[in-house]
Amino acid sequence: MDGYVQRVLTATPSRLAVPLPADIISTVEFNHTGELLATGDKGGRVVIFQREPESKNAPHSQGEYDVYSTFQSHEPEFDYLKSLEIEEKINKIKWLPQQNAAHSLLSTNDKTIKLWKITERDKRPEGYNLKDEEGKLKDLSTVTSLQVPVLKPMDLMVEVSPRRIFANGHTYHINSISVNSDCETYMSADDLRINLWHLAITDRSFNIVDIKPANMEDLTEVITASEFHPHHCNLFVYSSSKGSLRLCDMRAAALCDKHSKLFEEPEDPSNRSFFSEIISSVSDVKFSHSGRYMLTRDYLTVKVWDLNMEARPIETYQVHDYLRSKLCSLYENDCIFDKFECAWNGSDSVIMTGAYNNFFRMFDRNTKRDVTLEASRESSKPRAVLKPRRVCVGGKRRRDDISVDSLDFTKKILHTAWHPAENIIAIAATNNLYIFQDKVNSDMH
């Protein structure tokens, strides 16, 4: 957790002071080995980075990430029935576990999920009988003998193709997708429903959760995030705008409207305000790698829940408690509705989440230490060690402290990802992707 080295990647570098909206990164996800890192943006593009193998010749480039492939995943669409434009922004990307030489990922916008296959081609056949080198048909009179085409090496080419398109499954906006540990099914969740799909079948899905009330006027709660358990293929969790988590067992019933477990923390009466519900709304939920715990993010805190204890979280960490007295202003400018993500490290000992002013926070569950770091070009040069930041709330102010009133609320770190095995993190700050690596310990302890 100490001494992170910085490297900044911008897939579409822009010299503009204000980034183009289409370039804003909207999701970040490592694959299961950490070799590949995918980002999606508001313009519907996916950029995949690959980690270069560490080479003895260049010890400084400790396996850095470079662009591997870029493709347009989703285009803007028009729903003619509702006369609405469907945004092409990529909401989530999830990698499938690798089963052969190809890599596969699911990417989704508000309405449609797509399965993409990424393959490498480094050889090409040469010596066709009927075609010449440019592919034009040969004059048959010139062909005097038959030859067997041979495979010759070529420059590596990465090919991406859409293998499945899962459309028309959702009326409301998709907020999460999660691949099941059975590697055959996945689920997609919108504001009111969760559907279960088979990866090979696109023309139907099973509805497994439906919280839509009979009368829409009775609507008081929506689904905000959902995820399959990493090991138990029958279990999944979904979070709500009221701050509750529901763990569901698909073996219990076809329609999992009745939860197996309901995780909810009672409201703290001393902290009650008109904004209590808004700040309790869970913006992200992640199972730990072990499957024993869940991590949730609400507006001011991250919480660790034990699957065996529904009454309250076992740990609560304050992300930016100094905002508690500013909720009215944050409600006014809509910042209170921002949805931050959270992440576990590979050993489930450290958790991370983003904040404002391009700050992100890490909490060590064992030592109870926490740190605030900043993702910005100005604050440090590439390969420089990151300096911890501090927000001061009045009282004694140290030299490099930032005061609460000078925080930039337009610079928000909503999307973060942690390498599954090593201490490498990816932080999306508007249109820039920052990769930080622990220079002291590359591996987990």
Partner: protein, 236 residues
Amino acid sequence: MLSKGLKRKREEEEEKEPLAVDAWWLDPGHAAVAQAPQAVASSSLFDLSVLKLHHSLQQSEPDLRHLVLVVNTLRRIQASMAPAAALPPVPSPPAAPSVADNLLASSDAALSASMASLLEDLSHIEGLSQAPQPLADEGPPGRSIGGAAPSLGALDLLGPATGCLLDDGLEGLFEDIDTSMYDNELWAPASEGLKPGPEDGPGKEEAPELDEAELDYLMDVLVGTQALERPPGPGR
């Protein structure tokens, strides 16, 4: 009470009102921007929430989470503002707000109308457009299509200022609402014409925390006529 000519002028003037409304609560003098005491909400927090709701509904496809959170917050604020004023829900369909003398009332009722119809539309269209039906969807096919009565919940929500919207004008506005809370010596019966007082107003009994300036504004808006004749008050 209001001559036709005056009424028409009032309607024109109203189109300009929303811009003024947007601005007045942002005035640095107002409590909205400062930290309002949380025990009881100021009416400016209420108005802020109503505006947010309005803005959310104006989106081509509103963010349901945002909408639901704002509505729930608005309910909390309303509950704290008027705990004693338990008005029965007005059981009238919100007709097209053709006459909107009370700006707040009209915007609230329009909101509730548009929210109800929007949410209804969502469920109506969903029934039509979902091509491959989810297999395990056991819901009755007609369940979500059409038919949902216009929102009572949202009307409930919007408090004493909403009235049923009739084409008759100001008189009709108060016809079937319990107007006892508005009764004070400054509120003359409709036939005599309404005269606003500087310090009393409809909000007097249920929200004593309202500023004088805010009361003035409310008075002006509710009375209508006087707003046409008087120059803008200090609250703007």
